[in-house]
């Protein structure tokens, strides 16, 4: 298995696994604690619609994914402020509408494009060096933001209204948190796919939630589960010739149920 590491594609896949596994786990902790799972799912689908449009008109698909993913979050937030539409409802609308858009865009493509499906189901083994750099750079941006506002995000996740009342710019920071969730999804989109990125965001943090009673230990557990899933899933998928994204997701799910069984909180 060691000669595996001499392949350039495998090295890149492992590097991507480490970065994405870590980022998704840390951001996922706040997603789980603040109850933003559905926002994550909706953003993943609109980011995929961005990818399809990117391929259709010949613009960098990851850039379009970022525009669509963050655009969804901005519109959902505006709807929530202006018309008091509940997050779940407006995210649900975007979830469906962006899938419809993606199908229309794919339909408009004259030829079959396998790369588009790579974004749907994930293709971590085909991550290019330039994509790896993008993943690294954006992950650093997202993790830096989280580190800078760590204490505020903890407070907002605990009780946003109390945070606002005690002098924290809670509304603006919550919006920043939503944008970080969107950014994380776009970063992970190519490697694990729009359908499964959500798994990497939610499952490690949900497993950690079962095990930890402090935020720091929850983050460490989440990163542990996240990295075990991405690296382990990647190696398993290679060894048994299975699709990588699905193997990563199934391994994470198995770890989640182990955590539930081992939970001291039950």
């Amino acid at each position: 298995m060691t000669d595996l590491l001499t392949y350039g594609f495998m090295q890149r896949a492992l590097a991507a696994s480490v970065m994405i596994g870590t980022l998704c786990a840390v951001v996922g902790v706040f997603v789980v604690l603040r109850g933003l799972a559905f926002v994550g799912a909706g953003t993943a689908h609109s980011a995929f619609a961005g990818v399809t449009l990117g391929y259709l008109v010949g613009i960098n698909p990851m850039a379009m994914a970022l525009v669509f993913g963050l655009g969804t979050i901005w519109i959902v937030q505006a709807l929530n402020e202006r018309s008091r539409t509940a997050f779940d409802v407006s995210v649900g609308i975007f979830y469906a509408a962006s899938m419809a858009l993606a199908i229309v865009f794919i339909g408009l493509m004259r030829t079959y494009n396998s790369e588009v499906y790579g974004y749907l189901f994930g293709s971590i083994l085909s991550v290019t060096p330039s994509e790896l750099w993008t993943i690294g750079l954006l992950s650093a941006v997202a993790l830096t933001c989280l580190a800078l506002f760590f204490k505020e995000f903890h407070f907002i996740a605990f009780d946003q209204e109390m945070a606002a009342a005690s002098g924290i710019p809670a509304t603006r920071l919550f919006f920043l948190l939503l944008n970080l969730v969107g950014l994380t999804i776009v970063i992970a989109l190519k490697a694990v796919g729009a359908l499964l990125v959500f798994a990497l965001l939610i499952i490690p943090a949900a497993a950690a939630y079962q095990l930890a009673s402090r935020l720091w230990t929850m983050i460490l557990w989440a990163v542990g589960v996240g990295l075990t899933s991405t690296i382990g899933g990647l190696l398993l998928s290679y060894a048994f010739d299975l699709p990588s994204g699905a193997t990563i997701t199934l391994l994470a799910t198995a770890l989640f149920f182990l955590a539930v069984l081992a939970s001291p909180k039950r």
Partner: protein, 271 residues
């Protein structure tokens, strides 16, 4: 009632409402409030469910803007209050179902009271930790410092949240139903704690409750709300059959007990 009564000390009011109206989710919740509160005053805010008690606190916290009129605290308009002013208001929200598995310790919860004053990008210092420790001492729970918050009883969690508000070193303490949903001995303990804090620190306290008899013995004044200010004054002035009947109906009973009034109303809904 337009110009606030000046007390013996001759100080200016810390909180004023001038013809202020508020709506909650589009429906009017409070109409044309005009009254003021002096520094160091202990005000009980009573009224039936849906009378706008919580709305009044949220208005002071600047979480909702008035639809008409003006609300001020520390001489600043509430809903445009800067964050460093907000940090001087300690707030105990109505007891909500805390997620018992949320990863946070008692001490971390109290320390959060310092975050507003600290501002963004600053980590808690040794002085902040000392203030949090002192606040935990004040509420009598120093030994539970490192326990997960979710493991504590409801009354203990209330005390931790009061400690969190105290760690802010507030000038004003807003308490929303602090004694609701806890057993009678805990209720008494919480009440004497709040009273002691008020006396020792000259805190301005606004204590919202639907349970008139809990607060009437300890407050300086009572404000009776029912979508507007029905009455404000000393407990003896407000707790009369005529005043209360206007809000709670003719079935209200007011009796005298040891110099104070005891009130029985037909409003038995607990949130």
């Amino acid at each position: 009632m337009n110009s606030p009564a000046v007390t013996a000390e001759g100080t200016a009011p810390i909180i004023t409402f001038q013809d202020a109206s508020f709506a909650y989710n589009g429906t009017p919740a409070l109409e044309a409030l005009t009254f003021s509160i002096m520094p160091g005053e202990f005000l009980g805010i009573i009224g039936p469910n849906g009378s706008g008690k919580t709305t009044l606190l949220k208005a002071l916290l600047g979480l909702i803007a008035p639809t008409a009129g003006r609300a001020t605290i520390f001489d600043c308009t509430c809903h445009t209050l800067r964050c460093h002013h907000r940090a001087k208001i300690g707030y105990l929200p109505q007891r909500s179902q805390l997620d018992p598995r949320f990863p946070i310790t008692v001490f971390e919860t109290v320390l959060m009271g310092r975050y507003g004053a600290l501002g963004l990008f600053h980590r808690p210092t040794a002085a902040d930790r000392e203030l949090a420790e002192a606040a935990l001492h004040d509420v009598g729970l120093p030994e539970l410092k490192d326990r997960p918050l979710g493991q504590l009883s409801g009354g203990q969690q209330q005390r931790v949240l009061i400690a969190r508000a105290l760690a802010q070193q507030p000038q004003v303490l807003l308490l929303d139903e602090p004694t609701t949903g806890v057993d009678a001995p805990t209720q008494t303990a919480l009440l004497s704690l709040i009273r002691r804090l008020h006396q020792q620190r000259r805190l301005t306290v606004l204590f919202v409750t639907h349970d008139i008899n809990v607060v009437s013995p300890v407050v300086d004044r009572l404000a009776l709300l029912n979508r507007r200010l029905v009455a404000i004054g000393t407990p003896a002035e407000v707790l009369t059959k005529a005043t209360l009947a206007a809000v709670y109906g003719e079935a209200v009973i007011v009796t005298s007990q040891g110099g104070g009034s005891y009130v029985i109303v037909a409003d038995h809904h607990h949130d």
